[in-house]
Symmetry: C2
DNA sequence: GCATGTGAATAGATTCACAGCG
DNA sequence: CGCTGTGAATCTATTCACATGC
């Protein structure tokens, strides 16, 4: 059911989750291609750069619309633009980091966010001895100010890097502050309302998954 | 009860990838249950704790063998043991971190690895001004010593936290050193031989995926 | 009775293979 | 001719629903 064939740019399809997960990888590759002055790219080349196969690239991109040229490939800049649009990457999205331990500090200083569309605009911690400290070019704010600051700064995404025991509370505060996207590094399950999306990155789990594969090879030849 | 055919403990099934990805979550939940003195757990309870549904828990666990009791549930300690075994978590697996920027340092000091079966045993960097520096209770070694040190320390897993431009080289060095499992934080595709497993964690990609969902909700009600 | 374990049903993702078009 | 875009086929994962057995 197309919502009326009106404004073609508003045509919103629903992308398969698996495809959404790969779009950032394609986008990275396209940015590198653009930097090197390449104007067009085939699904084969892009597949190589992204570490997947060509059929997958074509299927994934076909969900965005028909932006390739048969016999030629995809125009790098156009595709870049379309993927960025599909991902909602309009300008800099404001990010807040909650929890300024080792990991929070590392992320606060991470140079890789800006070129990919994000800007860290606020840092929070519970610990009064950290509040007021300067980290990069931001001051650490008290978690109590979270609601106010997130509203002022129009924070779109919250990154939770607090210890396990504080993760649910930190998340709840972000939700109350109206933040609808949360990236959680705490190794624990956190619940959020339906209306909020959350992704979890658990470093120890990643290592355990690797451990499985290693052991598997070791015991089965 | 007892698996009949052949050595019971060597009975190796192949677990579906999706199940492998969830075992660490179950294991975390079981550890918490054990700490609180709980002796048995039903698939329903475990599902709650893991943030998935009960059918999935039962199907996943059934791949390990039949360790539940009908009408009762699973014995927490036994299940913990079986999952740890399936994941190959025997004692402490030695981990090396390559790249001591912000993120590498954060991981070097991360307290969450030890309780989940890993021990950071070596730190490497290319930068001579960092070599010899003490980080936590380890000294930073030069990347040139990687092969020697990884062999001495029997490193099982390498964590790559170098800048994008150095990621392939750092990975190659680990591979040459015989490390067969690699966790890569650099936002770039890295190739490894068939025999090596690699997992990639790209923080900016995670944020971009969140951005997609947020924008989707915003534009479609 | 109650919760596991599992076949069967469904949904989703990947791959194939080729028609269609520049 | 070469490469995209896509139906069809395959493979994988999830969910259902219930027989099974403590």
């Amino acid at each position: 059911m197309t919502p009326v064939s009106g404004d073609p740019i508003t045509e919103e399809r629903r992308l398969p989750d698996a495809a959404v997960g790969r779009l950032p990888v394609y986008l990275r590759a396209l940015t590198a291609l653009q930097a090197s002055g390449t104007e067009t790219v085939s699904s084969d080349q892009l597949a190589d750069l992204a570490g997947v196969n060509a059929a997958k690239v074509r299927k994934d991109l076909s969900h965005l619309g028909s932006y390739g040229t048969r016999g030629v490939g995809y125009a790098v800049e156009q595709l870049q633009f379309q993927i960025a649009r599909a991902l909602g990457l309009s300008g800099d999205l404001p990010v807040a980091i909650v929890g300024l331990g080792n990991l929070g500090r590392a992320l606060a200083g991470y140079r890789g966010f800006a070129p990919r569309g994000f800007r860290v605009v606020a840092l929070f911690d519970n610990d009064p001895t950290l509040v007021g400290e300067q980290v990069g070019d931001l001051l650490v704010r008290h978690a109590g100010d979270l609601e106010q600051v997130c509203a002022d700064e129009k924070v779109a995404i919250g990154v939770v890097t607090v210890p396990v025991a504080a993760a649910q509370q930190a998340t709840d505060r972000l939700v109350v502050a109206g933040v609808r996207s949360i990236l959680n590094f705490a190794g624990t399950v956190v619940s959020v309302p339906e209306s909020v999306s959350m992704r979890q990155v658990d470093l120890a789990s990643e290592l355990q998954i690797l451990s499985y594969h290693q052991q598997r090879i070791a015991t089965t030849g």
